[in-house]
């Protein structure tokens, strides 16, 4: 009952209400309020994420699992960031502000957490920013390596794909323009950059639209199944 019926009821109720509020103007406010609830619960989900992280890494630490030393790094980093973020620690030109501990200007509590000089923002600039962007920059290397070792014109489909990719890659650089500058203006569509534009505007648009319609219908039918309680995999139950 509490484990199954109530969640199913909550889901059906909220989902139906949000759909219906689109068609019934007086219910718009209710729809907005429920969306606000959702946004607030989303923050609790961040807390849950943090809590999970702490639990996992404390567990690793306690059981001295492989690489447990690095769990200390994670935990220290987590609590450090949490402290400076929640206390709004900032120092501008040697003046310290920790409004929640009564140090410095009490009005600083109203300041944005990402204001200039806040430690939170500095940690973002010098730790999160380089780390995250470099993680993704690694992919450039893997793309290069894959283009040398894996992207083969194995069959007609892959050949077509690579050809289109070729035109786009050339067309999106000034080099592509230089290559086909000799093509007369009245046949300008045959210049590589224009071919790239045409591919984006026509076949790409068509293909993406077909995919979009497919995925859109998939989302719609999935939402419906969820609301009607047919799909229960989110509860960790069997389907059907």
């Amino acid at each position: 009952m509490f484990k199954r019926r109530i969640p199913l009821f909550i889901l059906a109720f909220v989902g139906t209400l949000l759909i219906v509020s689109v068609f019934i103007p007086p219910m718009e406010n209710l729809g907005e309020d429920f969306t606000l609830f959702f946004d607030i619960i989303a923050v609790f989900a961040f807390f849950l994420g943090g809590g999970n992280l702490v639990r996992i890494h404390f567990g690793k630490l306690r059981r001295r699992k492989k690489d447990w030393g690095f769990s200390i790094v994670t935990l220290v980093a987590f609590f450090f960031m949490l402290t400076i973020g929640l206390l709004k620690v900032s120092s501008v030109g040697g003046v310290w502000n920790i409004p929640l501990l009564g140090i410095g200007d009490p009005a600083a509590i109203a300041a944005s957490p990402t204001t200039e000089g806040s430690w939170f923002q500095e940690t973002f600039n010098y730790v999160i920013n380089p780390l995250q962007s470099t993680m993704y920059a690694l992919l450039a290397f893997f793309v290069a390596s894959a283009s040398y070792r894996a992207f083969r014109a194995k069959n007609r489909e892959a050949t077509l794909l690579l050809l289109a990719a070729f035109i786009i890659l050339l067309g999106r650089t000034p080099f592509g323009m230089e290559l086909t500058r000799w093509v007369p203006e009245s046949f300008s569509v045959l210049q590589i950059p224009n071919m790239a534009i045409w591919i984006m505007n026509s076949p790409n648009l068509a293909g993406q639209r077909a995919i979009l319609i497919g995925i859109g219908l998939g989302v719609v039918s999935m939402s419906l199944r969820l609301i009607l309680g047919i799909e229960r995999s989110y509860l960790g139950e069997d389907r059907g």
């Binding site: 969306t35 920013n129 995250q132 290397f141 040398y148 650089t173 979009l212």
Partner: protein, 330 residues
């Protein structure tokens, strides 16, 4: 010929090439020419090696792309750009709105996407402020607010010392809830954003005097590439609220935005090329921005060289593949 002879021959050729370059080119071009020679010479060497020895270590490929990207950064190569129609559409939209219109710019990205989309965000912000539009800055990503604060203070506002917070622009920051945020602001800003980032109530902010919801904004530009991002703006604000939306997206998702163009989004800036085109259009139209920093345009040099290297890799890889296949057949 033995191995030693090859090395000797290589050294002689190298000396001749170096001498030729030093003699033929002016001093300031040496870096560029040498780096180009290095990359293209390397490609030829790679082709030969792949043909005879087959195995090329992954790390050599890594090194290759590093050089191809790093060299043009150190020794810049610059190009001119011609804005494509999808980019020009955004530029024209901002240009043709009467001065004093309200534009909403949403920074929906994180550091991982920033190199691609930050240049467009900066250029469009400058364009709006220069044109005299009132700008509402916000973000659907927590990391976006941090980037937004940083770029407002470090780049965007530096050129506009007399713009007043709350009158000419306002930063309302981030709220959790992804598309949930959009679903509320499409009918009510104040409910979702009671204050701006500095806790100033929305009702005390002049910009919001006649802006009750996202529907009242004249133009919305979402800059991002993940979820939530431009797509959610179209689905949750642009379409239901009937507002003009433009998007600036990371290259990875740019192709997926085309089905919405031009009925649901008025224009698309795709990746660093889109940013470069916008920067070029901006510089072209406003002499004030002649000395503006143009990261997008600057990035096109390394970008071009890297594209050529990647294309060469695909060609070389396929040459090996087809040779191998023919051998296997025989």
């Amino acid at each position: 010929m033995g191995k030693r002879h090859w090395i000797l021959l290589g050294a002689i050729v190298a000396v001749i090439i170096i001498a030729a370059v030093l003699w033929l080119f002016p001093k300031e071009r040496w870096g560029t020419v040498f780096s180009l020679l290095l990359v293209f010479g390397g490609l030829v060497a790679l082709l030969l090696r792949s043909l005879y020895a087959k195995e090329v270590e992954r790390r050599i490929i890594f090194l290759f792309i590093l050089v191809a990207v790093a060299a043009p950064i150190l020794f810049p190569i610059t190009f001119t750009e011609k804005p494509t129609a999808v980019v020009q559409a955004v530029f024209d939209k901002i240009e043709n709105l009467p001065s004093g219109s309200t534009v909403l710019l949403s920074f929906d990205f994180d550091p991982a996407m920033a190199p691609e989309v930050q240049p467009m965000a900066n250029a469009i912000s400058r364009h709006c402020l220069e044109k005299g539009h009132k700008v509402i800055f916000m973000s659907l990503w927590a990391t976006g607010q941090a980037l937004l604060s940083q770029s407002l203070s470090d780049y965007i506002l530096l050129g506009f010392p007399d713009k007043v917070d709350g009158v000419d622009y306002v930063n309302i920051g981030y709220k959790a809830g992804n598309e949930g945020v959009l679903n509320v602001i499409v009918s009510n800003f104040e409910k979702m954003f009671p204050t701006d980032v500095n806790s100033v109530p929305l009702k005390d902010i002049r910009i919001f005097d006649d802006i009750a919801s996202a529907k009242d904004v004249d133009f919305i530009m979402s800059i991002g590439g993940g979820m939530p991002g431009p797509k959610e703006w179209v689905l949750f604000v642009g379409d239901p609220g009937d507002v003009d939306v433009g998007v600036g997206v990371a290259a990875v998702v740019a192709p997926q935005m085309y089905p919405y163009y031009p009925a649901q989004v008025i224009g698309i800036l795709g990746g660093v090329k889109g940013a470069a085109e916008y920067e070029y259009a901006l510089k072209d139209a406003y002499p004030v921005f002649a000395d503006m920093d143009t990261p997008g345009l600057r990035m096109m040099g390394p970008q071009t060289l890297a594209h050529i290297v990647i294309l060469s890799f695909i060609v070389i890889g396929n040459i090996i593949y087809f040779r191998g296949r023919r051998e296997r057949k025989q």
